[in-house]
């Protein structure tokens, strides 16, 4: 039996300026407990696509559905309450605020009696953060910042988590830890959309992948098949087939 679709973006046309679309009909489908990765060269529209889904880029046409509900053009701040979490690529924590305040801020949309328990759950999941509660988030290491950004999004128990290049600027060792965390998150029942430049790492943990170019879908399929496809590797990843790590 095919798993239920939890998030879908269909024929999305979107861009920062009304007459200058970056996306020209791109889209994806995400099913329960799935990791889907969006790949493609720089400027393909990967980040713009998940920002459009997250309500941060105006959508001119197309449809976004979260489960049974259409969420196209809903204000960004309402989406996390509906179960759609988003972790931006850069500036994804409030650097001037403490780790604790970053989490309390996210917890504010929960009922009062659940806030402390959810913050404690995040500290249990990310012990590094628990040891640095009072530290300004801007003073965390790159990996710890990424963990805080993920914790902030997970704290409210979303059904879907979208991440924009979580490996950007991190050392390979830290990237490994971040991707391991993402697999744990998936195991907890959260479906994930992952935009990545690090093709090898993304395809290693993803179930399926979409390859975008010039704002359109060019290829899609199971991650292992795309990983071994020499034409795709040559066209979009700049070289040989992506070997499994």
């Amino acid at each position: 039996m095919t798993a239920r679709v939890v998030l879908s973006a269909t024929e999305i046309v979107a861009g920062y300026e009304p007459d200058l679309p970056i996306l020209n009909g791109a889209g994806f489908v995400l099913r329960e407990r799935e990791i889907v990765t969006l790949l493609g060269p720089n400027g393909a529209g990967k980040s713009t696509l998940i920002k459009a889904v997250a309500g941060l880029v105006p959508v001119t046409s197309g449809t976004v559905r979260l489960g049974d509900q259409e969420i196209t053009r809903l204000p960004a701040h309402t989406l996390i309450r509906r179960g759609l979490g988003f972790v931006p690529q850069t500036e994804n924590v409030f650097a001037a605020m403490s780790v604790e305040d970053n989490l309390l801020l996210a917890a504010a949309i929960l009922p009062r009696d659940r806030r402390a328990a959810r913050v404690a759950a995040m500290y249990a999941m990310f012990p590094d953060l628990a040891a640095k509660k009072s530290l300004a988030a801007g003073r965390l290491s790159g990996g710890q910042r990424q963990m805080l950004a993920v914790a902030r999004a997970l704290l409210v128990e979303p059904k879907v988590l979208m991440l924009d290049e979580p490996s950007a600027g991190l050392s390979p060792k830290i990237v490994g830890a971040v991707f391991e965390t993402l697999q744990q998150v998936r195991a907890s029942g959260v479906a994930i959309v992952l935009v990545e430049q690090s093709v090898r790492a993304a395809l290693a943990i993803a179930d399926r992948a979409y390859v975008l170019a010039e704002g359109r879908n060019r290829h899609e399929g199971p991650a292992p098949l795309l990983r071994d496809d020499p034409i795709i590797a040559h066209l979009y990843f700049g070289g040989d087939p992506v070997a499994a790590p």
Partner: protein, 303 residues
């Protein structure tokens, strides 16, 4: 040598600092230098004067002074009502003017619009009340000696007390409450704040409301200790901006410390250099501090 000039500087600085809290909040969250803030100071003082008069007329109460102060509970009650009125005025101005301009995201357009709105509001105030000074009370205050040649009136002590209460309340609001965290989050990164579930538009409205109410508080204490004039806010505007920048944009304690420094610098300039140089000395100090700490005393340097 009398140390009276230090007391005068601290009193003036407390008043500047109180007004600067609103400046620093609106500057950090709305993202532009809001010149209307000075007019909210004056409108707040006049609103308090009118409401106190209406309470007196409506209830037939003589505004008896409270203890050693020149004002009674009627002015305090009117002050609270005026804070609500001025907050509402700020909100209305945002709805009529700034909300539309904000969509284009051009800070210089917002600054120029605030400059125009400031002049319009000041002229309207002058038209309604004339430029003649007004007073909450005609009671004569006897200054109390505090030692070392320093004398302070009970009204000035009341002003210091009110300022301290408002500063602590604002600091707790910003650091310990959900709305305070939301305001800090929007000031730092509005897009991330939205993704985290914060209704940025609602936070902006609350900022106008709180900023207007704080400007009113500064206007009322200035009106009690000095006098009420249509230009009172305009005269305080530059020192308030200096205090906010000196303290570090977005920092409530910074605004107050900045206000005290500006007040003391002006007072010392009067004492040692001459009254005509007071503004120059205060701003030279501002430039000197910013050269050493560009983000201000309590500000956070950009990453």
């Amino acid at each position: 040598m009398s140390l009276q000039f230090l007391a005068d500087g601290l009193l003036m600085g407390a008043m500047i600092g109180l007004g600067a809290i609103g400046v620093t909040l609106t500057y950090s969250i709305l993202g532009f230098a809001n010149f209307v803030h000075g007019e909210f100071v004056a409108w707040g003082a006049y609103a308090c004067l009118v409401i106190a008069g209406l309470i007196g007329l409506g209830l037939g109460i003589q505004a008896e002074p409270l203890g050693p102060f020149s004002i009674g509970w009627v002015v305090l009650l009117a002050g609270a009502a005026a804070m609500v009125f001025t907050g509402g005025l700020a909100l209305a101005l945002d709805w009529l003017l700034f909300r539309r301009l904000r969509r284009h995201g051009n800070a210089i357009v917002m600054v120029m619009a605030s400059f125009g709105a400031s002049m319009a509001l000041r002229s309207l105030l002058e038209f309604l009340f004339s430029s003649a000074p007004a007073y909450f009370s005609q009671e004569i205050q006897i200054a109390v000696p505090l030692g070392l040649g320093v004398r302070v009136t009970p009204d000035q002590m009341l002003m210091l007390g009110l300022t301290a209460v408002l500063v602590v309340a604002m600091h707790l609001l910003i650091t310990r409450t959900t709305i305070g965290r939301s305001m800090r989050a929007v000031a730092e990164n509005p897009h991330l704040a939205a993704v985290a579930g914060i209704d940025v538009t609602s936070v902006i409205r609350k900022t106008w409301l709180i900023g207007g109410a704080l400007a009113c508080a500064a206007g009322v204490v200035s009106g009690i200790t000095v006098q009420i004039r249509p230009f009172m806010g305009f005269d305080l505007l530059l020192p308030m901006f200096a205090a906010a920048i000196l303290g570090g944009i977005g920092s409530v304690p910074g605004a107050v410390v900045g206000g005290l420094i500006v007040g003391l610098a002006e007072s010392m300039a009067v004492q040692f250099v001459g009254a005509e140089y007071r503004a120059a000395i205060a701003f030279l100090l501002l430039i000197a501090v910013l050269l050493v700490r560009p983000a201000g005393l309590f500000g956070r340097a950009e990453a």
